[in-house]
Symmetry: C2
Subunit: 332 residues, 2 copies
């Protein structure tokens, strides 16, 4: 007998993917960000469950309300990465018996409020006892079947883009977990991005409507891991020329002796979308995302060679390692 | 500040029901067995999440595979009680780090196998760490909007019916938890009904098609609690003339000095459907359920007087108390 902590989460997921029925009814392959089935008239029902565990997913100092919002954001983010509009949410809320009643009420209110923020009906769920806090969120959405954004369609020559900059959340987590001696506005912003993540709803919907996306995922396990997943699913590689991190965050990190490269690629808990766009459709895609109030930042290209490369202009190339958070095992 | 264990689960549920948006999109009222929203062409999407906690929901001796099956049954049972056909399942599987990898694989296989047994696509889900075992199941189904079976339509004069007998599971639980010195075939059957509960899929679908049901719920929190819920939602009462328990189980229980009345009403973890049928449609309903391979057993009548009464022929009337399992608080 071996323990789950020695095998790790991904070994279990691989086993589960093999056990799943490969049905014609599945519009997205097993292992994609969410599942989708047809429900007639070209429409697809898109579904996701992702849970927040008090043991591993709550950074120090996060409020009860923020915990509720984060649970919803985690689930909505995966729908949005597939181009689906959230319809409804449900929650299984497991609490230890010594949890306060006031805290439980705050959690419930936040779960519902966040659901409505993303345009989903808050349909309730189930509650009960467990050894520790655990909130399983479930988000159900609808998409036009032809607009579903998969992971496996990236082609060499496509443009790699993200919906926002990275590094800030990783910086915030490091400040909270170490804790690092830091102060000033960037510190506050970094911590805020840990406590109050939001899913890229309008960007995801605009991208779906643009019919320009060849692959898409969110970046909840870190940018490097997202690139790895798109690379594996599509059988392609990436060359990144422009590090998606602001000068401010990069400089601040430098002062703390933190490497901006590591912060950008090996973070996690960010909910940016990582997408590839047909180069002929780039202008349209960027216009639609801007029109929706978001941003689409080009960071590199899809390559035939199946490697993840950081190639700064005039600098030395560097390999991006396929590292990401894995439950039951340590980070990195 | 008060603790959740002093307030109890129902206080939290009541709070949550008040917080939920009362939207026209909701085809079933908050607090019903499942949630439903319209998805066009008169169809309703019916959704449920219910979780199994290692702390409270796994009887002694239940195998890992049985735990997986029970999780699916719990969720499917609520869809079926609303007349919906299961389409898909998703799971959030939280495991303690010292769980065995073999056990985790067995769980995953059972979750998928049970989903397929009920005709649902096994769409996977999420896994991660928690202090104890917790499986949040999610079932999504489809129903004809006009065939949704609610809790709030029972009318005086309707016939109260169940899809099977009670008492056996309660007996099995008592044997396992006490443990009681018992032997023989009834003991084995009672324990089997604890370990291997099944949802009443064909009965639920036949009842929905019969257009004869005025109210419906499942009996996962015990028959008394189901009657209480239907009574509250519909504003009616019930008189029960015929105890839905077999002679064999009743005699066996008597030998163990257990009261068949208590076993029948104050059990739980059973997944029979408890329904009310318009009396003019009774024959049709019973024929359709029989035709589907199930049973519809009449046990009493709906009354205007909002009380739950056991009135045996020639015997003394007795009040059925609204007792059921409540998380964070003790049973009864």
């Amino acid at each position: 007998m071996s323990l789950i902590r020695s095998k790790g989460e991904r070994a279990l997921i691989e086993y589960a993917l093999k056990q799943m029925t490969k049905s014609n009814e599945m519009l997205l392959p097993p292992g994609d960000d969410a599942a989708a089935i047809p429900i007639g008239k070209g429409k697809a029902l898109v579904m996701k469950t992702d849970f927040l565990s008090g043991l591993t997913d709550v950074p120090p100092g996060m409020s009860t309300g923020q915990v509720g919002w984060k649970t919803v954001t985690m689930n909505v983010s995966d729908l949005v990465a597939k181009g689906a509009r959230p319809l409804a949410t449900l929650f299984s809320l497991a609490l230890p018996p010594d949890y306060t009643f006031e805290g439980a009420k705050e959690l419930v209110s936040a779960l519902f409020e966040a659901s409505r923020f993303y345009g989903a009906e808050d349909l309730g769920g189930d509650t009960g006892e467990a050894e520790g806090l655990l909130i399983a969120g479930m988000a159900i959405g609808m998409a036009d079947g032809r607009e579903l954004m998969r992971r496996d369609g990236a082609k060499p020559g496509d443009i790699l883009a993200v919906t926002g900059n990275f590094g800030k959340t990783a910086l915030g987590l490091k400040i909270l977990l170490k804790p690092l001696r830091a102060s000033g506005e960037v510190r506050e912003e970094a911590i805020d991005s840990v406590y109050n993540p939001r899913a890229r709803l309008k960007e995801g919907l605009a991208l779906a409507k643009s019919h320009s996306v060849t692959s898409s995922t969110d970046s909840s396990d870190g940018l490097a891991w997202s690139l790895h997943e798109l690379s594996e699913a599509s059988g392609v590689g990436f060359v990144i020329n422009s590090l998606p991190i602001t000068k401010r965050v990069s400089n601040y990190a430098g002062n703390l002796k933190l490497d901006p490269f590591n912060l950008t690629f090996y973070g996690g808990e960010e909910y940016e979308l990582v997408v590839t766009i047909r180069s002929k459709d780039w202008v349209k895609a960027q216009r639609l995302v801007s029109g929706a109030g978001g941003r689409l930042i080009p960071v590199g290209k899809v390559t035939k060679r199946k490697r993840l490369i950081w190639a700064p202009k005039g600098g030395t190339e560097r390999e991006i390692e396929p590292l990401g958070y894995e439950h039951f095992r340590n980070r990195k």
